[in-house]
Homo-oligomer: 234 residues x 2
DNA sequence: TCTTAATTATATGTATTACATATTTACTTG
DNA sequence: CAAGTAAATATGTAATACATATAATTAAGA
């Protein structure tokens, strides 16, 4: 394996540092050479020689790839290509206290859109066991207007199960990622109208639709179930 | 500003390196001290003293925060807190040639769910100008079954406008992020049935619903419009 | 011969030091 | 007082040394 040294002339530069270039170059390299998940990439020292920069720079570039989830490094073994768990990556920058309000609101909306829109996947993949589980979850729910904290827990349990049924790992991860944001958004005063725990369509109602209805009916039911959230936004 | 040195005892360790701990500690610090967007954080040398580790380690930790978009660093000035553009962060790890097939499929599904689910936001925020623009886009579309490349461009133009109407920046960024994936997925042989450019509901049909219909009708129309994509998945 | 324990080699992880570079601040000089 | 120049400062890059974990190999023991 071979490669030309990094071009240090400041043609494009002004904003791109040496590490920037090296990072880009390494990613190019990995693609050119058709590296696949599981392959070990060249050692740090090999890269320093190939690109003609110090190990410090190589390490910072590799560190970035690591943070992005593109590689994992192990002592003695070197670094290997990994398929990034992109939502895990995202979760790293999801610090509610740092995200600006607009983004928080955006994410909140995104969640609502997803839950309404994933009806077809749920219907395609749901089985009798899932229905049973959902019924059990519903049966364990307390009567309306109990402990707030308690209420939210059951809310999460139910909706998490739906994500699970979707059998879409990225979607599941996305939800896990969004959960911590909700508390924050709920308490941030970001939404206009205070929360109203009365729901137009209950969890039980949703299960009924899942059992006997259609994706179309479910979308509408879910939309109604989330009515309060939508109202708070508009 | 003050802080105890990092605890180097390998209590939890086994997986967490020194940089891991330092990274966590710095984020804690920023939260404890209520740092807000725009604030400059302590200099690298201050941090080395505060935490009792080398500048190398501090730099690697800061580098991570930089990659996550939590800070930006400028020479002489130091590092300042920034509100992360989370989808820009995400785009960094979105290398289609590295993502595994399952994730690609997941993302494809995620897009479909979003477009069906965002009906309420579109309806809430659409205005007459938007309708006009959409009509113009539709009027510029070629007859069915023309150049494939051409067809896709118009497809993108139309759907991008919908995201725009949603007035949700994160959603827009998300779409921009997903676009490059589609070519890849389309050509990857990942989906079962070949693409069929015939659509059950046309773009013109969608605009009609936007003008005279309801969110509910629009969800169904969009679901039908995307029928081929759903079919290819199931 | 096979299993297990000790040894070694290797690549990443951490530390230290030095110098480069950009940019703000302060100073000098006309 | 303005303009240009020098100093100070914090990040960026480099080089080197040692620490540490672990894969690979070899040696020991059953």
């Amino acid at each position: 394996m071979n490669s030309l040294p990094i071009d240090r002339t400041e043609l494009d530069s002004g904003n791109s540092s040496l590490v920037d270039k090296v990072e880009t170059r390494i990613v190019e390299l990995l693609r050119e050479q058709q590296f696949k998940v599981g392959d070990v990439i060249p050692k740090e020292m090999e890269l320093t020689e190939m690109l003609g920069v110090s190990r410090t720079v190589i390490r910072e570039a590799l560190m970035r790839l690591k943070v992005m989830g593109l590689i994992e490094s192990k002592k003695r073994k070197g670094s290997v290509i990994t398929s990034p768990d992109i939502f895990n990556v995202l979760s790293k920058s999801m610090k509610p206290h740092i995200l600006d309000q607009e983004t928080l609101k955006d994410m909140f909306e995104l969640r609502l859109a997803l839950e309404v829109g994933m009806a077809d996947f749920i219907f395609q993949r749901i089985n009798d066991n899932d229905i049973q589980e959902l019924k059990e979850i519903v049966s364990r729910e307390p009567e309306a207007s109990e402990e707030d904290r308690f209420f939210i827990e059951h809310e999460i349990a139910f909706h998490s199960k739906l994500y699970e049924i979707s059998n879409n790992q990225s979607l599941k991860n996305f939800q896990k990622l969004l959960l911590p944001l909700f508390d924050y958004v709920h308490n941030s005063g970001l939404l206009k109208i205070p929360v109203n725990s009365m729901r137009y369509v209950s969890h039980k109602g949703l299960v009924d639709v899942l059992e006997n209805g259609s994706p179309e009916l479910f979308r509408n039911a879910m939309r109604n179930h989330l009515e309060n959230h939508f109202l708070r936004l508009f």
